[in-house]
């Protein structure tokens, strides 16, 4: 178990710069989830921590020790790959014990470690099989087993569940959470999946274009996104945005959209009157109300079974609404909505959150 300290890490491939100075302190036993769009450098960061990729500049410390120049084998870190990367010519048991054999662990110790991990993951009946004789879910488990047998300082996961079907993913997600509850191992987990990020993380790190946008608990990021990127990235269906001109008259503030519609917004000292600002509201926070202040034309209804996603437009400005109200399956051509003031997020000209 270990803390990981990342200071001003940069990475370039030739002249192409991927990470532009990442700082991150991960506490002992913490579960960190890295999210961000494809190509933002999540895997690169993970591989640098593992030692598979050179560090262009900056420092990585594990338990206070600088590991920049340490080979992967000397970092005592385990990694679960998206492709699982099981050794095809070895049995499940051999796959799991390989790292211990390389460390010349005593035979009895290997047997008990493999046995323990196999029991934890329900792999007992599969130990003699080759990876190709396993289903995707079983392979995934073996990859997890291979990581946990040797009790490393930290676990790295690079989209470990993305090759599984939805049902299995849900199940493995819960198992990973349980495993972390048992082992309390420092973990860094890369995913594209909103729910994985929200459910697993102690803290989420949202990245975009090689820069960390926000670090915080899942609810921090959901309730108080630091900028437009995080606001749009976290949450599904994604947050609605309205860009307009921030105007103040007396103690009333409003946002005038390009099409002339004005939306009342809370007054914020952080925005100059007359400046461009963006208002955000999550689809689940829009209130459907027969006496609502705004009229919205209904464009499309997407029932999800659990709830309903309504695509509407307010004077041609599109907006999504999420509701649990079954009556909205057939809402008619238009509905009236309210945007509750306490649910609004305001972002300044640079896209930063303004309180």
């Amino acid at each position: 178990m270990a803390s990981i300290d990342i200071q001003d890490i940069r990475k370039s491939f030739g002249t192409f710069s991927v990470l532009h100075g990442v700082d991150l302190t991960i506490r002992d036993g913490e579960f960190i989830v890295l999210v961000g769009p494809s190509g933002c450098g999540k895997s690169t960061l993970l591989r640098m921590i593992a030692g598979l990729e050179d560090v262009t500049s900056g420092d990585i410390r594990i338990d206070g020790r600088r590991v920049n120049d340490l080979a992967p084998k000397d970092r005592d870190i385990a990694m679960v790959f998206q492709s699982y990367a099981l050794y095809p010519h070895m049995s499940v048991a051999d796959n799991m014990s390989y790292s211990l054999k390389l460390r010349r662990t005593a035979k009895e110790k290997i047997a008990s470690a493999v046995g323990g991990a196999a029991a934890k993951l329900g792999l007992d009946p599969l130990l003699e099989r080759r990876p190709r004789a396993l289903s995707g879910g079983q392979r995934q488990r073996v990859a997890m087993g291979r990581a946990i047998v040797r009790q490393p300082k930290a676990f790295l996961f690079d989209e470990p569940l993305s090759n599984l079907d939805a049902r299995l993913r849900e199940q493995m997600r819960a198992e990973i959470k349980k495993l972390h509850g048992d082992l309390h191992a420092t973990s860094i987990y890369v995913t594209h999946d909103q729910i994985e990020a929200m459910t697993l993380a102690d803290r989420i790190v949202a990245m975009h274009a090689g820069v960390v946008q926000q670090v915080g608990t899942p609810l921090d990021l959901y309730d108080r996104p630091a900028n437009l990127f995080v606001a749009g990235f976290i949450g599904s269906p994604g947050m609605n945005f309205f860009e307009g001109c921030y105007l103040v008259s007396g103690d009333q503030a409003e946002l005038r959209l390009a099409n002339g519609v004005t939306l009342p917004v809370p007054q914020r000292a952080g925005i100059e009157p007359g400046a461009t600002a963006t208002l955000g509201i999550r689809p689940e926070h829009v209130v459907l109300d027969a006496h609502g202040a705004l009229e919205a034309k209904v464009d499309l209804i997407e029932p999800t079974g659990f709830g309903i996603i309504m695509h509407v437009s307010i004077h041609d400005v599109p907006m999504k609404i999420f509701t649990l109200d079954r009556a909205m399956l057939d809402p008619g051509p238009a509905v009236r909505v309210d945007l509750p003031q306490e649910r609004l997020h305001l972002f300044g000209t640079q896209g930063q959150r303004v309180e």
Binding site: G51, S83, P88, Y98
Partner: protein, 276 residues
């Protein structure tokens, strides 16, 4: 999908025709090798002589220098195959996995070596080897064959390494292996088909090489089998029966060798066709 019977039959017939065409010369080799000398020209063109004999075989084995040629060939082809495969595995791995500065130029140079007709190189190579005492020696042949086969074998091995996901050795390195240990314990076992293919390819190439063997070797002691075959050609006649018998015998090691490696070879030729 059920295939149509007509197509299946046509398909099988086409394969059969191909096999017949490919194997007929071998059959003829066998036929001549068992035809007694007195019947060779007297019976006209027949599929099988009216009387078969093994006398050519016994003569070739007992009274000619053929066993020496055979042994020499075995040594040369075997050593070349092993040397080339070791070099090509290491070089192919490096080309597949490492980035290094001169990589582009090394690849280009290796391609260039494949562009010359070998005949052009006979004289300079002879000139280089003779002061080193490597003409008329099996070692010299092994060196020359190895040099000529390494580039192609390297590309062959590289393509096999390219087919093995990089994740595997990265996983091994995280598990605690050095890059070399990962290569030896994880990657190499997965490349066995490639290694078998390379061994087979180089072995046959060296086994049947004539040009350099002819130019670099004089005298029977260091002659390989293709050169040795020419001893059956005398000024006034060609002893076809003995020559063909020797030819049949020379096929045996190549056949045995392929029998030995074919399990891996078939895997190798289909490797990468299916993900999994």
């Amino acid at each position: 999908m059920r295939s149509k019977p007509f197509l299946t039959v046509a398909h099988r017939l086409a394969i059969l025709a191909y096999i017949v065409v490919a194997l007929f010369p071998l059959f003829w080799l066998l036929k001549v090798s068992v035809t007694p000398n007195d019947l060779l020209y007297s019976e006209g063109v027949r599929m099988w002589p009216s009387r078969a004999t093994f006398e050519h075989y016994t003569f070739v084995i007992a009274h000619s220098a053929f066993p020496t040629f055979f042994k020499n060939s075995l040594i040369v082809a075997g050593s070349t195959a092993v040397a080339v495969t070791i070099l090509a595995s290491l070089a192919g791995y490096a080309l597949s996995r490492f980035r290094f500065r001169a990589k582009y130029w090394i690849v280009a140079l290796m391609l260039v070596t494949q562009m010359f007709p070998l005949v052009m190189l006979v004289a300079p190579i002879f000139k280089m080897l003779s002061p080193l005492g490597l003409t008329n020696s099996l070692t010299g042949l092994v060196i020359v064959y190895t040099a000529f086969n390494v580039p192609f074998a390297t590309f062959l091995m590289q393509s096999f390494f390219d087919g093995i996901p990089r994740d595997l050795e990265e996983a091994a390195m995280i598990d605690g292996a050095t890059q070399f240990v990962a290569f030896r314990q994880i990657i190499l076992p997965l490349t066995l088909p490639g290694i078998a293919a390379t061994l087979g390819f180089v072995f046959t190439a060296a086994w049947s090489e004539l040009l350099f063997a002819l130019m670099l070797i004089s005298g029977n002691d260091a002659a390989t089998f293709p050169v040795g075959l020419l001893t059956f050609v005398s000024k006034f006649s060609v002893d076809f029966g003995q020559m063909m018998a020797a030819g049949i015998l020379a096929l045996i090691p190549a056949c045995l060798f392929f029998l030995l490696i074919q399990r891996y070879l078939v895997q190798g030729l289909t490797a990468g066709a299916v993900k999994g």
